[in-house]
Symmetry: C2
Subunit: 103 residues, 2 copies
């Protein structure tokens, strides 16, 4: 048994995410989870740099390890309803690291 | 395919973890991963409050969602070698939330 059904981390550190509105994305995701009455089951945390700079705001959802890039405040309701509550990841926002950029 | 084989989050926020040496635990875990040459595969991030205040420093390892409580700097090598590299969680440090404290 884990503590949370879904654990979401939003990068708010590093070189680029903070300049791309990641704090607002974190707030929007958390507000939507709260509005749905699911704060006990879904934790939305800020995190240190996820090391995918330039592709953010970056969001990762565990335990299923789904990564999202270039997330906006407007995307937050869809991520919460489709994925966090409905278990259907939002494919158009998925971030897959290119092999050539592995560092 | 995920970005990291193991993704570790250390709570450095909230009411108690910061007063219990969580920053030093984060540093010790990261240093040990670096010493093992595994920074590409194992990411150790700081996170916002994990909402398990009083049981920290709290650490959670994904994707396997293993939680550790009262982690010390001295525990870092064992967590890295046994669990992050060896896939054998450190049972004596495991944190399981009591049902009565669910909030």
């Amino acid at each position: 048994m884990s503590i949370y059904e879904k654990h979401v981390f939003v990068c708010v550190s590093g070189k680029t995410c903070p300049t791309q509105g990641s704090e607002a994305v974190w707030q929007a995701l958390r507000d939507e989870v709260k509005a749905c009455g699911k704060l006990d089951a879904i934790r939305v945390n800020k995190s240190g740099c996820l090391a995918q700079c330039g592709h953010g705001p970056m969001v990762v959802v565990y335990p299923e390890q789904v990564w999202y890039g270039r997330v906006t405040v407007e995307d937050a309701p869809k991520i919460v309803h489709d994925h966090l509550l409905g278990d259907a990841p939002v494919e158009r926002l998925r971030y897959v690291k290119a092999k050539s950029t592995v560092s």
